[in-house]
């Protein structure tokens, strides 16, 4: 239930979270975006849609994902109790599938036959290819050429699932360019195509819709931590690229102001070097890919190519609801360098027997920084939003190991 004085009521009917969000798209897409909005509103109100989604999340995705007390890490850090929300145990190995199941159900409901998606790390591409195969729909995934090089296992997975993986050679050849290319495809094949956006970014209604589909993470955490500890956590920690895993965890807690929300961005080589992907920490308001939000841009309003060792965080923008939460002071921010993320990646593997994806390794590095100074009674829940199998080549290279 939403209440009048809730932070969970956004966006407004035009898709704005405060001054952020909106629908900054070419006219060609407007009729489709309005159609999508109507279809989603309709589906939201249909108890049958919700029931079917819940069933698939249980039987196909494997939800609920466990909430795990990371006891050895907690012991090693000597401070707050650290829990992992184990969304890396989902089918396809990351949180991305939660959203894809919801959107493919909507695509079917709207009678769309052709699915397109953009992908950075390949997790969203794999999740999209998976649900498209599952529903028997044509699937085209746009992926930057540079990301294809650093995420070979996921490229093979997508192809195995029957998707057409199209390399994007324009611009920086990473996630933002893949999104440009997907938008171009959508403009060209607008009638028959459903664009499954993987993050809480893009034009309205995507940020709200993706958030709603990912909010299952935070809802489960509320139930699980209450059962386990009899109260809500003191802090939630999640990595933010576009921001879907973080929003999924945070959103059900927005009104619980005693629970701090900590978003962790990629500092790459360090924010001071300019080689990073920390739009909320170091960006300024701007408009990209259909929404107003924080953006990495130069003095002329040109988009700066981001840098992160994590392909999933390597994006110059961020979801508009995060921008708003930063603006109103609800969201706390941190930034973690490539080096720190790699250290956390190794430490987690050895201490907990869990190889994290490089994205949650950023969140974990922040936990490692702050938990020791927190009281032992305090509770941190971190979103372990993906597993690290896809990153072993990148990590090995960075660690100087030849495979």
């Amino acid at each position: 239930m939403t209440t009048l004085n809730s932070l969970r009521n956004g966006p407004d009917e035009r898709g704005h979270f405060g001054v952020f969000g909106g629908r900054y798209v070419a006219e060609t897409l407007m009729p489709n975006i309005l159609e999508l909005e109507r279809a989603y509103d309709d589906a939201k109100r249909d108890p049958g849609f919700r029931a079917e989604l819940d069933l698939w999340l249980r039987d196909y995705v494997g939800r609920p994902s466990p909430l795990y007390f990371a006891h050895r890490l907690t012991e090693a850090l000597g401070g707050a109790k650290v829990y992992f929300k184990r969304d890396e145990l989902n089918h396809t190995g990351a949180h991305k599938i939660n959203n894809c199941v919801g959107q493919i159900m909507l695509a079917k409901r709207m009678g769309k036959r052709r699915i397109i998606a953009e992908t950075g790390a390949g997790q969203h591409g794999v999740a999209t290819a998976t649900v498209a195969a599952w529903m028997g729909l044509e699937c085209i995934v746009y992926m930057g050429e540079r990301d294809i090089e650093r995420q070979q296992p996921n490229v093979f997975r997508m192809k195995l699932l029957g998707a057409d993986v199209r390399p994007v050679t324009s611009g920086s050849r990473t996630l933002k360019d893949a999104m440009n290319e997907a938008l171009r495809d959508w403009v060209t094949h607008v009638e028959e195509t459903f664009y499954i956006i993987g993050s809480v970014a893009g034009p309205h209604p995507y940020p709200a819709m993706v958030r709603d589909f990912q909010s299952v993470i935070g809802k489960e955490v509320r139930t699980q931590i209450t059962e386990r500890e009899g109260r809500l956590p003191d802090m939630l920690v999640a990595a933010i690229g576009g921001g879907s895993n973080a929003m999924g965890l945070f959103h059900p807690f927005l009104d619980d102001t005693e629970t701090r929300l900590m978003g962790v961005e990629a500092a790459g080589d360090g924010i001071a070097t300019g080689h990073h992907a920390a739009a909320l920490n170091a960006g300024t308001p701007g408009v990209l890919h259909g929404a107003k939000s924080f953006l990495l841009q130069d003095d002329d309003g040109q988009v700066i190519e981001p840098h992160s060792i994590s392909a999933g965080l390597d994006y110059p923008g961020v979801g508009p609801e995060h921008a708003w939460l930063k603006d109103i002071g609800r969201l706390e921010l941190a930034a973690i360098t490539d080096r720190e993320a790699l250290d956390a990646f190794e430490r987690c593997s050895r201490l907990e027997g869990i190889i994290p994806a490089l994205e949650p390794a950023h969140a974990l590095a922040q936990v490692i920084k702050i938990a020791p100074a927190m009281d032992r009674e305090k509770i941190i829940v971190m979103n372990m939003c993906g597993r690290g199998d896809k990153d072993i080549f990148t990590a090995a290279k960075a660690m100087g190991v030849e495979l």
Partner: protein, 272 residues
């Protein structure tokens, strides 16, 4: 209030001709060549000039225009320089309407109010901002109109009868009909289909209708000129910049203006 754009289309109508609208990216391949191109366009037959404001992520444009943007940015082009280019053009040409076309972020970053003031001062007549649909009119469209600039909107094959009034509201100068669902420089439009669409739109507006996207050759331009009030050619000109830039500024100017003359002649003679 009548603008240069209004006057130009009224004049063309009186003479029973369609207008020829050119698109080039500001600062492509470099500032000086770009200035020479602009200066040469009216004599080569351009009735309205669209000048692209370079942007790193032009998501509604095809490879040709994205490449033009990146060439211009690499050569150091900025929004301030684009406005300066217009000012230089306007000092020599008081009559040819000039429309700036691009994406919202550089304008937003520059400051919408400051941009509008500087655009008016420089001699800009209209704006096309691809990623500002009617739903976001408060950002730029309404303030631009208040300052006497035309705000030109795109209508597309997906703009159905229900959507068209929203597109037409607050539009002025002319309506830019995108002849295909797709990006700039893509497949060629079919003249008959375009003609039907133009008639459909004409029933709902008195604005002149210019048609663009995918028109590259004089014959195709002439066919569209029989149905529409204006014909827009962009990628075909921009491609010539790309092909000739290695040979230097003179080669670029010669090639682009020769093509402009051929297209303009075809457009102007189409209804004879």
């Amino acid at each position: 209030m009548s603008t240069r754009i209004d006057r130009r289309f009224a004049d063309l109508k009186e003479r029973g001709k369609a207008g020829f609208v050119t698109f080039l990216t500001a600062g492509d391949p470099d500032l000086e060549t770009s200035a020479r191109l602009l200066e040469g366009l009216p004599a080569a037959g351009a009735d309205v000039i669209e000048l692209g404001m370079p942007f790193t992520d032009p998501m509604a444009d095809g490879p040709a225009i994205q490449a033009a943007s990146l060439r211009a940015l690499e050569a150091g082009m900025t929004l301030a320089e684009t406005l300066e280019l217009v000012r230089r053009f306007r000092a020599k040409d008081a009559d040819t309407p000039l429309v700036l076309m691009g994406y919202f972020n550089p304008i937003f970053h520059y400051g919408a109010e400051r941009f509008l003031d500087d655009a008016v001062t420089a001699g800009v007549d209209g704006l096309i901002v691809v990623d500002l649909p009617a739903e976001e009119d408060e950002e730029l469209c309404l303030p631009a109109r208040a300052k006497g600039l035309n705000f030109i909107r795109l209508a597309t094959p997906t703009t159905d009868a229900k959507r068209l009034p929203a597109v037409l509201a607050n539009s002025s100068g002319f309506l830019y009909y995108v002849s295909i669902t797709g990006i700039t420089g893509a497949a060629a439009p079919v003249a008959d289909v375009v003609g039907e669409a133009v008639s459909r739109i004409r029933a709902q507006t008195t604005l002149p209708i210019a048609v663009g996207f995918g028109i590259r050759e004089p014959e195709a331009a002439a066919a569209i000129a029989r149905a529409a009030d204006g014909v827009v050619v962009g990628s075909a000109l921009v491609d010539l910049v790309a092909q000739n830039r290695e040979a230097g500024g003179d080669a670029v100017v010669d090639a682009v203006l020769a093509k402009t003359r051929a297209l303009a002649e075809a457009v102007h003679a189409a209804r004879d």
